[in-house]
């Protein structure tokens, strides 16, 4: 018990000291560990990117970067937590498009608004890809569209979730080609894959990263990106085939509203430096991620254009409850 009497004050004092170290901050950002919040399950695209960034970020920022998970509601739980966090730059969260645009539009109260997330940097995107099984009768996008035209609603496309990039990519394809498809949402891009491999859906509207993992079993009909992917250069883009569809998930980081601009800049520069690290870029490319280089202003502006575009696209659909 004597040991205990010595230990208690020591433990308490050291914890107090720890706390004071964190109160006196702000002068030279960053001075303490940064919490990098991931709003999706470990193992997903957001998590893989963050885990790859972690080491390089720590090198650039010269501080520890702690990755925590705040999962739920398709990201909304984490983002509504972020906007209530201290705006000191020590809490940052991965943010996703189109999620952070469409959730506030569709849910009424998602717990945050698109504008409340102060955007720092957009570092990667995964374009949508329309894939079928290798042994499918559809060899090209034309085959696929021709069949869908003859059989309205009979073609089923699996994808990740409702009102996500996969869902919107399907809607855009329906509009551009004048066909009716049946979109079936799964709980993630991963759980849609076995549905296609098992022949339970006709095809998938998935991400290029997913397609890259299953190159030996999938046939990529078209990619919804401005240019072809380096991982599968044989797969055409929708634009080449005459359909103006560019859709995908964009991933970046955000901070709470009212975070000082100079801190945002330090963070944005750090993410840009990581993106330009050849070692990091190589790993991302292998996994079929497309790197993006959008700073705070550019990213915010990009979101405004996307928001206007989605509002227009969905105006004749019953998205709002």
């Amino acid at each position: 018990m004597r040991l205990a009497r010595v230990l208690v004050p020591v433990v308490i004092l050291s914890l107090v000291a720890l706390m004071f170290g964190q109160v006196v901050a702000a002068a030279g950002f960053p001075e303490k560990p940064i919490t990098y919040m991931i709003c999706f399950d470990p193992g997903g695209e957001s998590d893989i990117t963050a885990r790859l960034q972690q080491k390089y970020l720590e090198d650039v920022l010269k501080t520890k970067v702690v990755i925590t998970y705040k999962v739920g509601g398709g990201g909304a739980v984490g983002w509504s937590e972020l906007i209530r966090s201290k705006p000191d730059g020590y809490t940052i969260a991965g943010d996703n498009l189109p999620h952070t645009i469409l959730q506030p539009m569709q849910r009424g109260d998602a717990g945050y608004t698109t504008e409340q997330l102060k955007r720092v940097y957009c570092f990667e995107s995964t374009p949508c890809a329309l894939v079928v099984k290798k042994d499918s009768p559809f060899k090209t996008l034309d085959d696929f569209i021709a069949f869908a035209k003859k059989n309205p609603g009979a073609v089923t496309l699996g994808g990740s979730g409702s009102w996500t990039a996969n869902h919107l990519g399907t809607i855009e394809l329906e509009k551009a080609a004048g066909v009716k498809l049946t979109y079936i949402p799964f709980t993630g891009s991963g759980s849609a894959t076995p549905a296609l491999l098992g022949g339970h859906v006709t095809g998938l509207m998935t991400y290029t990263t997913m397609a890259a993992q299953q190159l030996d079993k999938f046939r990529i009909l078209a990619v919804a990106a401005p240019k072809r992917s380096a991982v599968f250069p044989d797969a055409p883009t929708f634009r080449e085939l005459g359909y103006d569809i560019v859709e995908g998930a964009y991933r970046g980081v955000s901070v709470p509203p009212n975070t000082p601009d100079n801190i945002v800049k330090i963070l944005a520069d750090a993410f840009e430096k990581v993106n330009k690290n050849p070692e990091f870029a190589k790993k991302m490319a292998e996994l079929a991620f497309d790197l993006e280089f959008m700073g705070p202003a550019e990213y915010t502006k990009f979101i405004q254009t996307r928001k206007a575009y989605y509002t227009d696209l969905l105006k004749d659909m019953d998205i709002k409850q």
Binding site: M1, L7, V11, L15
Partner: protein, 147 residues
């Protein structure tokens, strides 16, 4: 009314009544599953109620109410624990509530000294957990005005 079947059925009917109107604004795909479940729940509750009445078991008092006062105090203490955690910090709150709980559970503490010795032991126990969770497991435990 001390029959468990009757109370349980009524409880389920109340839950169904609270949730049913909330489905008004949902789309077909959002509603199809919960609606089926609520309908089944109401059916099961009504069936149980009817069976109990037919078998004339409704008057059978089979609920043994324990000392609800103690339960209420413990639950309230836990609620306080959770409520003030974000302000006072996880560690401080836990040690404080822990101390009160020890007194509630076993009021027959012989003297102040033995109580504080146990509390010191508890403080170390909780500190170990705190450090393990916040640093090793990287769980961001709530910090308050102290730490």
């Amino acid at each position: 009314m001390r029959n468990s079947n009757v109370v349980a059925s009524i409880l389920m009917l109340v839950i169904a009544a609270i949730l049913w109107p909330q489905m008004k604004h949902l789309t077909y795909f959002g509603i199809v599953f919960p609606r089926a479940v609520i309908v089944a729940l109401v059916a099961a509750a009504v069936l149980l109620l009817l069976l109990t009445l037919i078998r004339r078991e409704a008057g059978k008092h089979d609920i043994q109410a324990p000392n609800l006062g103690t339960v209420a105090i413990v639950v309230a203490l836990m609620a306080v624990w959770i409520a003030i955690m974000p302000w006072l910090g996880f560690y401080v709150t836990s040690v404080a509530v822990f101390g009160v709980l020890m007194l509630v559970i076993d009021p027959s503490v012989r003297n102040a000294k033995s109580f504080f010795v146990s509390l010191a032991g508890v403080a170390i126990e909780l500190a170990l957990f705190y450090v393990a969770f916040s640093t090793l497991l990287e769980v961001p435990l709530p910090r308050g005005i102290l730490f």
